[in-house]
Subunit: 229 residues, 2 copies
C-alpha cells in the first residue's frame, strides 16, 4: 500500500495535487494549516473537499509564523493586499518568510507519525510570483534537510513545479476535476471562492491561465461542454 500526505490549502494548486495524489497513491491523507491568514475560509473548504473525497484530514495551528512577518499583508489585515510590492522591497507584500519551510517541515513530521514518507505540495516555480520558497532548488534542499534532521527517507513531490497556470488547469481537466477546482477552491486574496474577485494578483494569474486553457482546448477534451457552470 503506497501512502502519501498532501499539504492542502484549499486553493487551486494544492487541491489539484489532492486529486493527483488520489490517482497515484493507494492511501491519501491531507493536512491544512491555520497561520493567521486572511482567508481562513480556505481551511473549511479544504475540510469539505476532503470529506467528499473520503480523505482523512487534519488542521494544525502554526499561527506563530504570523508573529514572524509583521509587515506581511497576507496575515496583517491592516495592510493593502493588492499593493503587489513595496518600494525597496524585493518581495511581494504577501510574502510570509519561511511559510513553505514550516508547512512542509510540519507536514513531514506529521506524515512520519503516520508512517508516511511521501509528501505532496502544490508549489511551483513557473508562476512563482516572486516567492523564493516555491522554487525547485529550495524543495530539493529541504528534502535533504528533512532526511538529515530525522534520519529518514522522505520524498517531496511537486507535481506542479514546472507547470504554468494554463497547464495546471489542463492537469485538473485530465484528472476529471476541472469544475471542482474552478468552482469550489479558494485562491483569491480577497476570500471569494471560485473565480474570485478577479483583480487581486492571485485571481489575475488564475483567470489568465484558465482563459488560455479554455481557448486552446479542443472540443474532444474532457472539459468539453463544461465551460459554464
Amino acid at each position: 500500500m503506497s501512502k502519501s500526505l498532501v499539504v492542502l490549502s484549499g486553493g487551486q494548486d494544492s487541491t489539484t495535487c489532492l486529486y493527483w495524489a488520489l490517482k497515484h497513491f493507494d492511501e491519501v491523507r491531507a493536512l491544512s494549516f491555520r497561520y493567521g491568514q486572511r482567508h481562513v475560509k480556505e481551511v473549511e473548504i479544504a475540510r469539505q473537499l476532503c470529506e467528499e473525497a473520503g480523505v482523512p484530514w487534519e488542521c494544525m495551528d502554526i499561527s506563530f509564523i504570523s508573529q514572524l512577518s509583521p509587515s506581511c499583508s497576507l496575515t496583517n489585515p491592516s495592510l493593502d493586499i493588492e499593493a503587489e510590492k513595496r518600494e525597496g522591497d524585493p518581495y511581494p507584500t504577501t510574502f510570509v518568510p519561511g511559510r513553505n519551510l514550516f508547512f512542509i517541515s510540519v507536514a513531514a513530521i506529521y506524515a512520519r507519525n503516520h508512517g508516511i514518507y511521501d509528501v505532496i505540495t502544490g508549489v511551483g516555480q513557473a508562476d512563482f510570483s516572486g516567492y523564493p520558497d516555491c522554487r525547485d532548488g529550495f524543495i530539493k534542499s529541504l528534502n535533504t534537510t528533512l532526511n538529515l534532521a530525522m534520519d529518514e527517507q522522505f520524498r517531496l513531490h511537486t507535481p506542479l513545479m514546472w507547470l504554468d497556470k494554463q497547464q495546471t488547469w489542463a492537469l485538473a481537466d485530465e484528472l476529471g476535476v476541472l469544475d471542482t477546482i474552478r468552482y469550489r477552491t479558494l485562491t483569491c486574496y480577497n476570500g471569494i471562492v471560485g473565480d474570485g474577485c478577479g483583480h487581486c494578483p492571485s485571481c489575475k494569474l488564475r483567470r489568465e491561465g484558465l482563459e488560455k486553457y479554455l481557448e486552446q482546448t479542443p472540443s474532444n477534451s474532457p472539459s468539453m461542454g463544461r465551460k459554464t457552470p
Copy 2:
C-alpha cells in the same frame, strides 16, 4: 558593526555560545523558545542571564511542536524521562522530531527581521546523544535551505560542533564564565539548576565532562581555585 543572534535554551551549551558570541560579535541578541518542554524554568534562566549580560532577549512560543511528538518524554510529563530508549525505537525518548529544524528556522527569520544574518546554535555532534538534528551535515544542509527559502546569505555558527563536554567546559573557562555556566545554567531533565539531579542522561554527560576537565586542568588555568562555589 557585526551582529548575531544566539538560540538560547539556558542550558550549558547554548549559554556557553552566548558568551562566545559576546566575544566574537559587536552586537548580540538572544532568542528562547517555549515548546511545551518540562523544564520551562530554563526560559527564565535564559532571560536573567541575558539581562545581566546586557543582551536583548525574546522568547517565542512554538508549542505546536509538542503536538507533533506525542510520544516524547521531554514534552509529555506522563512519560518516564530517564528511560533512555524504548524497545524498537532508534531514538532517545527525549527526541522531539524536527526540534532544531524549527528552533533554527524560526531564529533565522527572526534574525532577518532585525537585519542579522549570523545565527549561533549550541548543537554539536561529539556528544550528540542520538539526536540526528545535532549533526554537522544537518546544519550545513539547513543553512543552504534557509538561504534558498529567503534568497539570503545566512551563516549558521556552531562553535561546539566538534567539542565534547570536557572541551565545552574548557571553552567556558577560556571565556571566563566557568562558574556562571556551572552554577547558573539548567541542563538537567529533572529541572534542577547547576549540577542538577546527577543521574538523568543529560546530567551524566555534563558531570563526566566537568570531572574530566577539572582533573586535567593545570593549576595556572583560569579556573584555578574555582572548583568549589
